[in-house]
C-alpha cells in the first residue's frame, strides 16, 4: 500500500496539469543528446536531466559518475510526431534507483503509469527489463556520461558502446569475455579490449549448422555471429534481446562495412 501511495505521489508530481510527464519549466531540467544513441526501433527520442538545486555530479571517476540523490532523468519516445512512451529514472534518498515508465494515449495528449510488468504488446518494458539493461553498466543513467557526452570514438566503437556495452562489459557478464563498453579514463585500452574480444574469437552462441562460429570474421560479415544476431528477427537470436523489435539497418550496415572492408584492409596491411 505504501509503495502504491509513493508511486501515485510520484506520478502526480511528474505528470503536470497538462498531463505531460515532461518538466516544462525552463531551468528545471536540461535537455541532452548522447553521441552514441541506442537504437529504439527508429523512434525519435528526447532526454532531460534534473539535479536538485545546489547539487552536482561527482565526476572524479570518469567512467562512473556519481549522481546526487534526487537526480531525475526522462526519455521520451515519439513516433510520427506523437509521444508514445516516457521512461523515468530517479535516484532515491538511500542511493538506489527507481525506474518508471509512462504510456501515452493514442492521441499523445495524456500519459499514465505503466504497470510493473510493462505493456508487452506495446513494447513497453517491465521494471525487471529496466534493470536488465540499466543495472549492467557502472551507472544506471546510460546516456549521460563522459563517453556519451564528449569522447570521440570510431563510429563502430561508439555504436557498440551505446547499443551493447551496458550489458557486454567485464563487470556485468564476465563469463562471456566480451567487452563492448568504452572507457573515458583509458579509451585506447578499452578499444583494444573490444577488438581482442570480438575479432577471431569463438562465439558462445552457435547458430545451427555453423561448425566453429566466430564473433567477427574479418572480411566476412555473413559469417560473423555479431552481424547474424543484429540482423535476426527471431527473439531467441536477436541482439539486443529486449527493447527492440525492428532491425537497425543502419547499424547493421555500419558493422558489416567495418568487417568487410576495414578489417580486411587492416589484415592485408598487417606485417
Amino acid at each position: 500500500m505504501l509503495v502504491r501511495i509513493l508511486v501515485l505521489a510520484l506520478a502526480t508530481s511528474v505528470v503536470a496539469a497538462d498531463q505531460s510527464p515532461i518538466p516544462r519549466q525552463p531551468g528545471e531540467a536540461v535537455e541532452f543528446t548522447p553521441r552514441y544513441p541506442l537504437w529504439s526501433d527508429g523512434m525519435d527520442k528526447r532526454r532531460w536531466l534534473h539535479l536538485p538545486a545546489g547539487t552536482a555530479i561527482d565526476k572524479s571517476d570518469a567512467d562512473a559518475w556519481e549522481f546526487p540523490r534526487g537526480t531525475r532523468a526522462w526519455k521520451e519516445f515519439r513516433r510520427d510526431g506523437k509521444p508514445v512512451e516516457t521512461r523515468f529514472i530517479e535516484r532515491l534518498a538511500d542511493g538506489s534507483w527507481r525506474y518508471l515508465t509512462y504510456a501515452w494515449n493514442a492521441s499523445g495528449t495524456a500519459a499514465t503509469l505503466a504497470p510493473e510488468e510493462g505493456i508487452p504488446e506495446r513494447g513497453i518494458p517491465s521494471r525487471a527489463d529496466c534493470l536488465a539493461c540499466h543495472e549492467g553498466a557502472p551507472v544506471p543513467i546510460l546516456g549521460y556520461s563522459a563517453v556519451q557526452l564528449s569522447l570521440a570514438l570510431p563510429p563502430v566503437l561508439g555504436y557498440l558502446h551505446g547499443n551493447c556495452g551496458h550489458c557486454h562489459n567485464d563487470a556485468a557478464l564476465p563469463a562471456l569475455e566480451l567487452s563492448l563498453a568504452q572507457q573515458a579514463s583509458d579509451p585506447e585500452a578499452s578499444a583494444a579490449r573490444t577488438y581482442a574480444t570480438l575479432i577471431g574469437r569463438a562465439s558462445r552462441f552457435r547458430p545451427h549448422g555453423a561448425a566453429n562460429p566466430q564473433r567477427v570474421v574479418p572480411g566476412q560479415p555473413a559469417q560473423s555471429v555479431l552481424v547474424t544476431r543484429m540482423k535476426s528477427n527471431d527473439p531467441l537470436t536477436r541482439m539486443p534481446p529486449l527493447g527492440v523489435s525492428l532491425v537497425d539497418a543502419g547499424g547493421v550496415a555500419l558493422i558489416s562495412r567495418w568487417i568487410e572492408h576495414d578489417l580486411q584492409q587492416a589484415q592485408k596491411e598487417a606485417p
Partner: protein
C-alpha cells in the same frame, strides 16, 4: 609466557573460525544438493536413458543438459490439444515457444556454468532471462516458481552446482517456433 597464552588463544580462535566457516560452506553445499534433488533439476537437466525398469536419469552425465551428440529430427507438429513433445532424453522440449534444450549446469568452463558468477545465476532465476540480461529462458523451466527461492537457497544451489564434475557438452541454441530445422 603471556605471549604464549595469547598465541595459543589466537590459534584456538582462528581454528574455531575456520572450522565454523568450513562447516558453514559444507552446510551450504548440502542444502544446495537437497534443493537440487528435491526441486526436479535432474528431471530435465540430466539426460534420461532407458533401463530394464524404464527410463531413468543417467547420473554419469548428471546435470549436463541436452546431449549435443544426440541429433534430433524436426519436432512433430502439434496436433489438437497435444501441444508439447519431449525427446527420449527428456532434455529437448517442443511447444508453442519453439524447441528448448536444457542447459549444461556442470562446472565446465566452456560449456557449463564454470565461468558464471553467483550474480549471473541469481539474475537468471530471478528475471527468467539468460544471465539476467539476454534472451528469455523457455518452458518447461519453471521460472515462475523458482524465482521465489530465497537468496540463501539460490546461493546454496549455486554452491552445490559448482561441485558437479565438469561435463563438456555444448547444448544447442533454442529453435524458434517457425523453425523446421533439425536440432544438430
Amino acid at each position: 609466557m603471556t605471549l604464549s597464552r595469547r598465541t595459543t588463544l589466537f590459534l584456538i580462535i582462528t581454528v574455531a573460525i575456520l572450522s565454523s566457516a568450513l562447516a558453514h560452506a559444507e552446510d551450504k553445499v548440502a542444502r544446495g544438493k537437497y534443493l537440487v534433488t528435491t526441486s526436479g533439476c535432474h528431471d530435465c537437466h540430466t539426460p534420461w536413458v532407458m533401463g530394464p525398469k524404464g527410463p531413468h536419469p543417467d547420473m554419469t552425465r548428471a546435470l549436463s543438459g541436452h546431449p549435443a551428440d544426440f541429433p534430433l529430427p524436426p519436432a512433430p507438429k502439434p496436433s489438437g490439444p497435444w501441444i508439447v513433445s519431449a525427446s527420449a532424453t527428456n532434455t529437448a522440449w517442443s511447444g508453442p515457444w519453439g524447441v528448448s534444450f536444457t542447459a549444461n549446469l556442470t562446472s565446465d568452463a566452456e560449456t557449463g556454468l564454470g565461468k558464471w558468477t553467483l550474480k549471473n545465476f541469481k539474475d537468471t532465476i530471478r528475471t527468467g532471462r539468460h544471465m539476467g540480461r539476454g534472451r528469455e529462458i523457455l518452458p518447461p523451466m519453471p521460472i515462475p516458481m523458482y524465482k521465489n527461492f530465497s537468496d540463501a537457497d539460490l546461493e546454496a544451489i549455486f554452491a552445490y552446482l559448482r561441485t558437479i564434475p565438469p561435463v563438456k557438452n555444448r547444448v544447442p541454441e533454442p529453435l524458434a517456433p517457425s523453425s523446421s530445422v533439425a536440432a544438430n
